[in-house]
Point group: C2
Chain length 210, copies 2
């Protein structure tokens, strides 16, 4: 008698549909009801369209890798931002993931490099320093090529924990460690900030205080 999972109690008439629904429902934020809606949409498309959809995901997964230097996603071993000659190579912004990098690039006001961690330290979710691209960042800093590391991390407990941990790791490297200005409202995600707030948060970055 539940309102929510009605079709969950019913046998879907085809194992192939059931399997496609399972896969769709494995996407973040997609429940089984939404998954069924997406699958029915797929069934209304031509076979060629569905193949094109499927193939685009496989080709992307096979062709895209993390940049060996900064972890940005790229089709080449080293990404276009790391190779760009005009950018300040001694300044590195540390971000959680690609979406934050894209938001910062969107301002057109940041001209340094990046380091994409691929997440933040989150003991609750079982994400420790070893699961992130932290050693690679420490190596970049230890090489002496980097003069300033800018934390552009989320203003959450996990983001703060990550910044705190990274700062400890840099303590003997003689690198300047800053943090973007908290012009970005605490609790808001970087990728949703408006350009002006993001630009100011880079201009007014402050020495990192643990």
């Amino acid at each position: 008698m539940s309102k929510v999972s009605k079709f969950g109690d019913v046998e879907i008439p085809s194992r192939l549909i059931e399997r496609a629904v399972d896969q769709m429902a494995s996407l973040p934020g997609v429940g089984r009801r939404t998954a069924l809606r997406l699958v029915l949409n797929m069934l209304r498309r031509s076979e060629d369209d569905v193949r094109r959809f499927a193939e685009s995901l496989v080709a992307m997964r096979e062709g895209v890798r993390a940049c060996q230097v900064c972890g940005n996603l790229s089709e080449e071993p080293i990404c276009s931002i790391c190779l760009a000659p005009g950018r300040e190579e001694h300044v590195v912004a540390v971000v959680e993931d690609l979406r934050d990098l894209l938001a910062i690039e969107g301002t057109g006001h940041y001209h340094g490099r990046y380091h994409v961690l691929g997440g933040v330290i989150s003991p609750m979710d079982g994400v420790g320093p070893g699961d992130l691209r932290i050693d690679a960042l420490v190596e970049r800093v230890a090489s002496g090529d980097i003069k300033e590391v800018i934390f552009a991390l989320p203003t959450t407990m996990e983001g703060d924990t990550t910044a705190f941990y990274l700062n400890k790791r840099f303590s003997n490297a003689g690198v300047k460690v800053t943090s973007i200005a908290r012009g970005v409202a605490v609790g808001d995600e970087i990728q949703y900030a408006d350009d002006l707030t993001l630009i100011r948060s880079f201009q007014h970055r402050t020495p990192y205080e643990a």
Copy 2:
């Protein structure tokens, strides 16, 4: 300076990602920001997992067809409901799509057959009678095997229009035409009704009045 489409202004670092985002954003209810989130989730999976995801959609699209009799989705030419020997073969419930069929099956109280139209008449969306499995239903009725047609269509303008149109087509066939009781609140979708309301709406079905 827009808050909504920030990454829309930025070049995504890979054509392969761009293409995958385009495909994901082609799903109903999925905007480009959500599409990017789904695509980044895909990139965190193993190549095998992504292949399995993609393959499940292609296999489904290739292996699932409409039942030749009722339009229900099936891996066989005729679906399991049409072949089930225990069901009343002279009673046919007309539904918009598979999700409504699954909701009705979920009550366990309907023992007739179905006819899945694949939509409802909607001039605003360019959906006319010729786009739906209406001729097949008229043929089923004309064959004389069906004693009662139950409209289990949405209580919307489009659903009412479809019922009105179908009733006209049946006018000379001598078939009993009923409509599920409007125990389902007007404007609500059948698939979201609770079981009890759905059961009553079948028990209290009334002669169709144009």
